[in-house]
Symmetry: C5
Subunit: 323 residues, 5 copies
């Protein structure tokens, strides 16, 4: 480990230890976030009035039909019908369901008032190559207002060659969200060949940077992946290339870079129950506000998913925090 | 057949068998679609007040003059005059005729009130290469309102390198359609070299994905081609590459992926009468809402086309379903 | 000749013979075109109140200074001064003069009320290569309204790689023309390397397609070149590659593809008097509404041009037709 | 000299001789230009109420700091301060000073009412390559109105591969200028590799075409360079490649191509006093309305520039012409 | 040294010596800048009512999280939390803090009224290559007004191949700033391969040009880097390639090119205390209005930074100047 990296690693460890006594970290409070009334009202609804409550977020996304195609639904054929996810979100008492305009317009009316809605505003298919990753708009903040959604979602590809257009598009969404008082949830994904050469999209450098970008550009909530240590880290810019942080310290670093933007941890591909619950707990310890699990929920048999949800609720209760 | 593919194939077969007793599948009801009043009023007009009725759709498209050029009219020289198709739509009691602004402005006034109009809002010629397939707008939802159309049509090229622009353009059309209460019919065509490498544009993977994209992006009706099994399927992403579904099971899969978006089956190139009628019946069995046959209608001699239309009407009556 | 081509050739010949008894073809009537009041009033002015009248159009274009540069004026140095063309249009009783904003703003005021104006709304220079042919806007429909023009002109390059942008731009113009009630005259030119590989820009395939595109996209009048049979026709898509149509049959085909869009024949480079008059007569026989001759007029000595104009007037009187 | 070129050369010579008796040519009158009241009022102010008057224009441009960088100011270090040029324009009684928004907002307030302002609305730096020459907007017509400018300036690169965008941008400026009644001065510069292959940017073909483009696109005044005969002329399109015109005949040709658009002659790089005064006189003889000299003015010592200006005033008085 | 370069070098030296007697240069006064009332009120607040006052500016930027990523915060882990910089700006009595929308919306509410805000309106990440350097908008002037900011910041990459888009985007920002009366601070950075071939981004040619561009395009304040003499200067265009100016003479040249646009000197990477204070003093001597130091402030331990700030305040008091 290089000198500066060793110092940085140690400094991070020391601060974490000193500040928090090895225990869990507090999430930003809604009060500290300086939210306008509309955003505050809606975020309170998501964080306290629905789902596990206590200031936590448990989100069920169902945008994979667009992002990956119907291929993701083979593992659980019932999940091809969007009603399945709506019912799972309702019965599992999720804080919100996140999906695109079509699934909102055609299905939400049956669950309105029971499941809060995060309307995803941009997306793309997995068919063309990802080199210039960019997700065009599929809906607008006005659509979200009209449908009674409680937040909007936007995917930004940090580091993509199309980053210019992406930031510009995000600006418009962010301004409309400010105008209408809707919380803005940003899916912050590192992408593109430049990031591939700097440790890859799963490395700490990439995810840490993405979290900060979300904060800088005005996200109220950011969804990030859990950083994965790998050999490719050595290609990250210093001192990241020589940091030796454990998984939770690395994730804590990301949470800190996000500042007063609340952090949601992504589920990613399906993992085992114990792995999943451990991921939930360590994320919350590190200061996450909640999790967003899609395939890990609806690719499981319904009863299994509901049971898992109850366990997550139980864990989240330990992390309850006043508004 | 790979293990997961075999399971998927079997799961689909079992569900279909269990749920429906081997019989036909029901189409989504207008009620379930959660439509706003304007869309509901106009879709009811198309599905129940004109054409075969009973919740079915029989659409005559005449956009080939733009998409293919006058070349398609040589088979039946009378068909070069758009009045021919208008009269065929009227005399054959089609649910609607679908065409571009020029044919609407110059001819529809003679058939207004007799033949409902679906105004196609984008298109292109067959002259430049298709590699970056994208259809620019040729009309707007406001044009459709002004002309008294009952729906608008939009062609999206799923998987095209120009997909970004396409989704963005579709967003604007979809929003205007929501604003004015016009049903949105999406021609969902897989296109581009990426799809060519993943089983081709006629494979189940491509068409299944395209149907889902239409649902996700807010289509009320989607026009798809019937998937065609071929050797190229082996290049599709798993488990599609190893699925062994018969034609109707494959099409049923597509209908399910479209969810509460009504499905229209495309006619494509001219086929024989028995083939055509078999295609109609199996499509309806699989849950389609109707068919959209152009060259298969107006490339036939007029009397032959009208006779065929009557046979389709008769078949559709078997599939009548309340609103 | 291939079997289908032979059939197509014969079918066209038979229909023409049967329908019209070998005599001239009728042009679309203004009534059949279903025009809104503003367009109707202005087209009547052009077709009946000015110029040769009787439903014909004789248009003098002077956009070559932009499209080709001042080079076209060397043949008749007086023609460099736009006053020359205005006076020719007035003294030769043309139905209208067609030109760009600059020549309209600086000269039309002296001829207003005497010579109707078609304001050309897009154009380009001949300097950069033509591979991505596209003419940006140089004026708007609002300019035309402000100046008291009776129609607007737009050049679309059918088949150009820039066709996307072109169609989109034309959409805006067409909508404004609908909004303000100004007739839309479309210069429909096949262009680009794709058309070069399909028989070239002067072949029947290209011109026939271009005429149909103008109809489909909402032109009220389309200017086309006369198709020229050549060896390159063999590279056209079937059955065009094997059709054996005489010049007038070929042009009649184009007129039919244009449907209820009135057809203007382009003059092109300067030709001899007898050739010109023969072209006029055969165009009118085939159903054209008129001609648009520029260099063939103002590259001639003034008196010669005026004499020729009188002869065209005389021919047009034979083709007079009620509104 | 080729036959057609010889004829063209001779025709131009004869017309010039016949029409004007070898004497100077008249400029277009404001009356003939058909100007709207706002443009007329402002052009009269520039042509008659300020500067040399009598219908002439003497313009001092100071856009070189943007177009070339501060490098142009080394020759006369005082000229780096924009106050220098403002004072020179005032003390030398120029008709107007032409510059960009920053120099207008920060300095014009001290000279308002004393020196008329032409606000340049687009520009670029000399740093990136010129192959796709295009000058983006730096200000708008509304800025000009707000600041009390009497005209706006726009640079168009005729023949550049970016010509499409340029014409479109010019359209917007031209329309706003029409809307607010501000005269439009167009800097018409041939640019790009296509023009380099057709005799170069300084050849008669290029400049003659550029002048005509300005007229066609609606310029009220056009700034052109004086054409320079060279060996490269042989690469111009015929008959330009073989014309043998003297400098003044060539420039007269350009003035004629500009029609009723007034012509300003560009100064270009610094030249000697006698050369400069000869250029002024021959330009006016050929029908120019005035000159626009920048470096030739402010790269000279102040007193020398003022003396030269007085000499130009004296020459211009010989060319006075009523409005 | 070439003849013209020697003359230029000498001329600059002489003028500086003559005019100012070797002493410091005066900054432009707010009065001379001709500011509209809103800009004047806000600039006075920044220059006189907050921070060191007396017409000077001491700005703390914290946009590095976006521009460089969280990497810059390792040197001082506390600085990862934006509250750190806000407190430093408040406690060190900076004239303003400069940052992006996210840090403004989430943190400024706690310091409003204590620390003036410069809202940065565009930015990018360091991940994709810099060859086409362009910073898309991340906020708007309206955001700045809504948040109570006292100025807006914009980064323009002078010489970048994307300069076209950049100038156009800056135009919109500049116009909104004029409309709402917010001072416009321009970060003027030379970028792109063309500048790399002309002496590089740190050379006098590049920085001098960039300063002038800011003036020409309407900046009220420009942030520039201190030019660095190097071997690459020999590749600059003449006479820059042969100038032999000392550091302060070079910087004075830049200040003069900026005219009535106030100049802020950039801190750049962290340097030692004596170096930093010498840089401050020589900048002010050369006519700078102030400095903008980020990493040089918050990468230092807090107390050290505050002590340094007090020393800068003391220096600035020597340069106080009435409004």
């Amino acid at each position: 480990m290089s000198e500066p990296a060793a110092q940085a690693t140690s400094a991070l460890a020391t601060r974490n230890a000193e500040r928090e006594g090895g225990a869990r970290f507090r999430r930003p409070s809604l009060r500290a976030m300086g939210l306008a009334p509309g955003k505050l009202a809606r975020l309170k609804r998501l964080l306290y009035a629905h789902g596990p409550g206590g200031g936590t977020l448990l989100v069920l996304p169902i945008d994979q039909g667009l992002e990956h195609g119907p291929v993701d639904f083979f593992a659980n054929p019932d999940s091809l019908d969007p009603s399945y996810q709506y019912q799972l979100a309702r019965d599992g008492r999720f804080s919100a369901i996140a999906l695109h305009i079509g699934l909102a317009e055609k299905y939400f009316h049956e669950y309105a008032g029971e499941v809060p809605l995060i309307l995803k505003l941009n997306g793309k298919t997995a068919i063309p190559p990802d080199a210039q990753a960019f997700s065009p708009l599929t809906g607008t903040v006005e659509d979200a207002v009209r449908l009674g959604a409680d937040a909007v979602g936007y995917t930004v590809y940090v580091g993509s060659p199309a980053q210019d257009r992406d930031f510009r598009q995000l600006l418009d969404v962010r301004q409309d969200a400010d105008r209408f008082g809707l919380p803005l949830v940003v899916w912050a994904y590192p992408r593109g060949e430049a990031i591939a050469k700097k440790g890859g999209r799963e490395g700490l450098y990439a995810i840490d940077y993405a979290a900060r970008v979300a904060l800088e550009l005005g996200a109220d909530v950011v969804k990030v992946n859990y950083p994965v240590a790998s050999e490719k880290d050595s290609e990250s810019p210093p001192p990241y290339n020589a940091l030796r942080l454990g998984p939770m310290a690395a994730f804590r670093k990301v949470v800190e870079s996000a500042g007063r933007t609340l952090v949601l941890v992504s589920g990613g591909e399906k993992i085992s129950d114990p792995e999943l619950l451990a991921k939930v707990r360590s994320s919350m310890d590190a200061g996450a506000t909640g999790i967003i699990f899609g395939r890990n929920m609806w690719q499981r048999p319904r009863e299994e998913a509901l049971r898992l949800t109850r366990e997550i609720h139980a864990i989240f209760r330990e992390y309850a925090q006043p508004a």
